[in-house]
């Protein structure tokens, strides 16, 4: 369903991009997401899975390179345009929206390094890819570590007791990698390249980590089974194992000298994306609830004409508008300044995902028994939204991190340039 945008200054380009993304979300994402949701995780990535033609279509339209600069063949979207497009993709499917972003993460970070050789070798082929065959993933979570891998500011974060499940050791001109990432790596079992967070200096705990690029066709890389889960079942996730995997020295982009600061930058970007998709998810729940309550007759009149339904539908609408306002404000700030003010990304992620969860809950309540069935999308949206409260750092951990930043920086001084 279309919506009225309270930003009256959208350009023709903004509107065209949004409308094209909406059409893609409705015609391509929704049907495939529904199919994948009902398949097993293994079936979802089997040779005959609808995932592959979907990815081919998405890549051919450029939805895999939304975050990449135009100079290298990316779409070069403005912060507002990223928000507009990601909202639509989140409406189509939160899980597939995540997948289309994480496939680009390793290549995005290479752009930041400005390393000509790696840009030619990795970024340009990714941008030129139209068949979905080059797929990145963001490998940060570990089996022995959940949100504590992002618990910057907690005393344990820098403690040697924080032993990573994966380590890198420099041998001459190569890093040697051993260990594993957890089953929560989005796109993990189908990725061709990983943006890998890895422990380099265990004496500094997770502050001794680094971030590197690993082509996943190297000897010693293997993958686990795709993960079965309740929400975002259309998003492939799974373990990656590394056994004496060797990468060139310059594939390590981030070393312990600035890992903590870089982690914040990466998190700020990831959390902004989460907020955008959450608007779409909130709106999807609102759309379904509004349509249903206009058609469903109870007590001799449409549900929407009942007092409490009107109130609930309005609350859902208000959450969509609030989420959009928060997300756009945060993305407008943090995709326009480097380094970002991370607390605003954290506000956007935590609030938008909470609102998405409330909206999907309300949608089920309004649909009643029908909301619990597979006949309607409300139950899938609800399961997808539940996952967002944990994904990319559970909201409690992110809020704690936000509080830590406030403790150290509030009130922020105005930008001095």
């Amino acid at each position: 369903m279309k919506y009225f945008d309270i930003n009256l200054d959208l350009s023709e380009d903004d509107i065209a991009l949004r409308d094209a993304a909406r059409q893609f979300a409705e015609q391509e994402m929704r049907p495939v997401a529904k199919l994948l949701d009902r398949m097993s995780a293994e079936e979802g990535i089997a040779e005959d899975s609808p995932l592959w033609p979907f990815l081919k279509k998405a890549y051919s339209l450029g939805y895999h390179k939304i975050l990449l600069p135009e100079y290298y063949g990316g779409l070069g979207l403005s912060p507002l345009q990223v928000n507009l497009v990601y909202e639509e993709l989140g409406w189509g499917s939160f899980g597939l929206g995540v997948l289309l972003a994480v496939v680009s993460f390793p290549f995005y970070l290479i752009c930041v390094t400005n390393n000509d050789e790696m840009i030619e070798k990795f970024v340009k082929p990714f941008c030129d890819c139209t068949d979905g065959s080059i797929r990145g993933c963001w490998a940060i979570t570990e089996p022995g570590h959940g949100s504590d891998v992002i618990a910057v500011g907690e005393e344990y974060f820098e403690s040697p007791k924080m032993k990573g499940d994966i380590r890198a050791k420099l041998e001459g001109e190569q890093w040697v990698i051993n260990g594993q990432k957890s089953a929560w790596v989005s796109g993990g079992t189908i990725a061709t390249h990983a943006l890998l967070h890895i422990q380099i200096d265990p004496s500094k705990g997770f502050a001794g980590n680094g971030v590197c690029l690993v082509p996943l066709d190297l000897p010693g890389v293997s993958k686990g089974k795709p993960l079965e889960k309740i929400g975002q079942r259309d998003l492939n996730q799974g373990e990656i194992y590394f056994d004496d995997v060797r990468i060139p020295k310059d594939y390590m982009f981030v070393d312990p000298d600035f890992y903590v600061e870089m982690l914040d930058i990466i998190l700020a970007a990831a959390n902004l994306c989460m907020s955008c998709w959450s608007i779409g998810l909130s709106r999807a729940a609102f759309d379904e609830a509004l349509s249903y309550t206009k058609e469903r007759i109870q007590g001799g009149r449409p549900l929407i004409e009942h007092y409490t339904t009107k109130q609930r539908v309005f609350d859902m609408f208000a959450r969509v508008e609030t989420a959009r306002a928060i997300s756009r404000a945060a993305i407008n700030l943090n995709l326009n300044i480097s380094p970002p003010h991370v607390e605003y990304s954290l506000v956007a992620k935590t609030q938008c995902t909470e609102m998405a969860f409330k909206n999907t809950h309300d949608a089920i309540q309004l649909l009643g028994g029908n909301g619990l069935t597979k006949e309607y999308s409300a139950e899938k949206l609800f399961r997808d939204a539940r996952s967002t409260l944990i994904e990319d750092g559970n909201n409690e951990t992110l809020s704690r991190h936000g509080g830590h930043i406030l403790m150290e920086t509030y009130p922020r001084a105005p930008l001095d340039f």
């Binding site: 100079y71 290298y72 912060p79 970070l109 930041v112 400005n114 981030v254 600035f258 300044i337 480097s338």
Partner: protein
């Protein structure tokens, strides 16, 4: 002591920017990507604005509205042009601060490479350390 004085920096970058615009793909690339840049430099205190027409400095530069603003100190500017700065680290550690769409900032980095190739010549000319 900073690596260059305000006078040296103004003369050096006045020449460098003009050469980049006239002799390399930097000029056409600026036009094609609709980019302009404001460099806000501390120690020495210089503001440079650059678009396809060339650079302007200080008071005139401060009146312009750029696509991307980059702020750093003079020594970091010198290292940046010598390609002795690792950009992710400099951004993370706030040695370089940027304002403007992140996509444009990322696009700016490769555009400046012709100037980085020429910069060592200017270091010799102005007797700056390499």
């Amino acid at each position: 002591m900073p690596v260059f004085t305000k006078e040296v920096a103004t003369e050096l970058f006045g020449e460098l920017w003009m050469r980049m615009i006239k002799e390399t793909e930097f000029g056409p690339n600026l036009i094609e990507s609709k980019m302009s840049i404001l460099f806000v430099v501390d120690v020495p205190d210089i503001t440079m604005f650059v678009d396809e027409n060339g650079p302007v400095f200080d008071d005139e530069a401060k009146t312009r509205v750029p696509t991307v603003t980059m702020k750093m100190d003079g020594d970091t500017v010198h290292k940046f042009w010598l390609k002795q700065i690792f950009i992710p680290k400099a951004l993370a550690m706030r040695q370089i601060k940027a304002k403007g769409p992140v996509g444009k900032v990322l696009q700016l980095l490769p555009l400046l490479k012709p100037g980085q190739a020429m910069y060592p010549e200017y270091c010799k000319k102005f007797n700056l350390p390499i």
